[in-house]
């Protein structure tokens, strides 16, 4: 068995086509064992990346990744696939920049084409205060060596000719934060790549298996759970697993899973809606974000325009689309790009976002020994997936919180040491 799973190539296609059959599965469907070194809850991008880096970087392969649904069926398959590193806080910038560099080499590392397209990222400013925040972000970014600068409306027009940069709009474009390393990635391929890579190292991906409870001994809360306790395993819909380490890599259901271990989280769950148009000839070369208009848009390689918005204002686990969203989105998009008024929406969908008070994630150890979290990924979980997996794997393998994620620990909410990213993460992606 090679170090990496086999590449998909024309030669392989012809070979498997001629031999009629034996098309290798990307990952197996293993029988669940009753004990593992590490159990990861959630077979999405974060869970699978953590399993992959535990195996690849640290040689820990006796891992189960358990999911009540299927691989990549949650936020990993519902996001708008944008990556960037032009955040507001120095902690955020360093963290997301590492993720971006992992994305750049991912196709080679995982031997799977993830269609990373480094096409530039524009965050539009429509007000003086927004322009001020753009300058702030640009300076924080430059200090850390990130390619990021503020450009004027004429330059915006050059970058994205379809945008209306005139003064005749309700919210004229005053400038933009230009971030050339930003781009989009084929999000499903990223999940499949990590799943295939982890499986290749012997990790068990166990789908359609719901975690019903996390077993904890010796804690100060009811049932021996909570602070001071120690994890002994999980109860699932297919039986119990004993494991000294349990990692919560869920999104949308993070609070419910964490309550099973007696660790409350500072999270409220909100749906975020997105939509995609029918395909047309490629005309939008960059990713365009407008915080004031609550919209971001990019054009896929198939020619569809993908739109995202801000999270719905009312916290709920219900993920049905609303007409209010479609109307507001269409109005705002046409404000930016009047030329697409005849385009039709193909579909809309929504996913669950776990919002934290400071728009930064909650990662690492918790007051329960052996129970780690990788939650609170709000609207920025996709772009952070690779670095979250890498740093969490390091944290599990070494027993020491990785430097890049030390600002994101759960204890910051008791110490009052929050990492305020709202200025760069509230709408802009």
């Amino acid at each position: 068995m090679g170090k990496r799973p086999a590449k998909y190539s024309a030669a392989a296609l012809i070979k498997h086509g001629l031999t009629r059959g034996d098309w290798p599965r990307m990952w197996r469907r293993p029988e669940m064992r009753d004990s593992y070194d590490v159990v990861i809850i959630g077979a999405g991008l974060h869970g699978l990346a953590t399993a992959y880096y535990l195996a690849e970087n640290h040689g820990i392969t006796n891992i189960a990744v358990v999911d009540k649904g299927y691989v990549g069926g949650g936020g990993s398959g519902r996001n708008t696939a944008i990556v960037r590193s032009n955040y507001l806080t120095p902690e955020g910038v360093a963290f997301y920049d590492r993720s971006l560099s992992l994305y750049k080499t991912m196709a080679n590392d995982l031997n799977l084409n993830v269609m990373f397209s480094e096409r530039g990222h524009l965050t539009l400013a429509h007000t003086d205060s927004a322009l001020r925040t753009m300058h702030w972000r640009a300076e924080v970014n430059k200090l850390q060596g990130i390619d990021s600068s503020v450009i004027d409306p004429q330059e915006v027009k050059k970058q994205a000719p379809s945008l209306d940069v005139s003064d005749n709009t309700r919210y004229p474009i005053l400038g933009a934060l230009h971030h050339p390393p930003g781009g989009i990635v084929r999000h499903d391929a990223v999940v499949w790549g990590y799943a295939r890579g982890a499986d290749h190292h012997g990790v068990h991906i166990i789908q359609e298996t719901e975690v019903l409870d996390i077993t904890v001994e010796g804690g100060s809360g009811p049932g021996g759970k909570g602070a001071g306790g120690k994890v002994t395993g999980v109860k699932t819909s297919r039986g119990d697993i004993s494991a000294p380490v349990v990692v919560n890599c869920t999104a949308g259901w993070a609070s419910l899973i964490s309550n099973m271990a007696g660790v409350p989280l500072p999270i409220t769950t909100h749906p975020l809606q997105a939509a995609v148009t029918e395909p047309c000839k490629v005309f939008l070369p960059t990713v365009v974000v407008s915080g004031s208009l609550h919209v971001y848009v990019s054009q896929t390689d198939r020619g569809e325009l993908v739109f995202g918005a801000s999270v719905d204002p009312v916290g709920t686990y219900r993920v049905n689309g609303t007409l209010e969203f479609t109307e507001e989105l269409a109005g705002h998009v046409l404000e930016l790009m009047p030329g697409i008024s005849k385009m039709r929406l193909l579909r809309q969908w929504s996913g669950l976002c776990d919002m934290t008070p400071d728009y930064s994630p909650v990662m690492g150890f918790t007051p329960v020994e052996g129970y780690l979290v990788d939650v609170g990924w709000g609207t920025y979980g996709f772009k952070a997936g690779p670095v979250a997996g890498e740093t969490l794997a390091e944290t599990i393998a070494t027993g020491r919180t990785a430097d890049l994620i030390s600002p994101f620990g759960i204890e910051r909410f008791t110490h009052g040491d929050l990492v305020g990213e709202k200025g760069a993460a509230a709408v802009g992606h």
């Binding site: 419910l256 989280l265 769950t269 009312v314 916290g315 709920t316 686990y317 219900r318 209010e324 009052g416």
Partner: protein, 82 residues
């Protein structure tokens, strides 16, 4: 669309109101420790099911009231002024 029954204004679209989140007992600011206070500020039950929460009728009577809402279905019952 979530329809919220305001005790004064009747059924309103949730866009006319502000959701103030789940009701959490407020510790006494004069005796609460910083840790207790921050727990009150940040930690949430975030249940999947019935939750007691506060709404603010910002587009109408501008009063606060409490309802029970099911976060899985957005069904609402039992409003009372708070």
């Amino acid at each position: 669309m979530i329809v919220v029954p305001c005790p004064n204004c009747g059924p309103r679209n949730s866009g006319d109101l502000r959701n103030c989140g789940e009701n959490i007992p407020r510790p006494d600011p004069s005796t609460a420790s910083l840790v207790e206070w921050r727990e009150y500020l940040y930690m949430r039950e975030n249940p999947a099911g019935w939750v007691s929460e506060t709404w603010y009728c910002r587009g109408g009577c501008r009063r606060y009231f409490t309802v029970q809402r099911n976060t899985m279905t957005n069904e609402i019952r039992g409003q009372e002024a708070s």
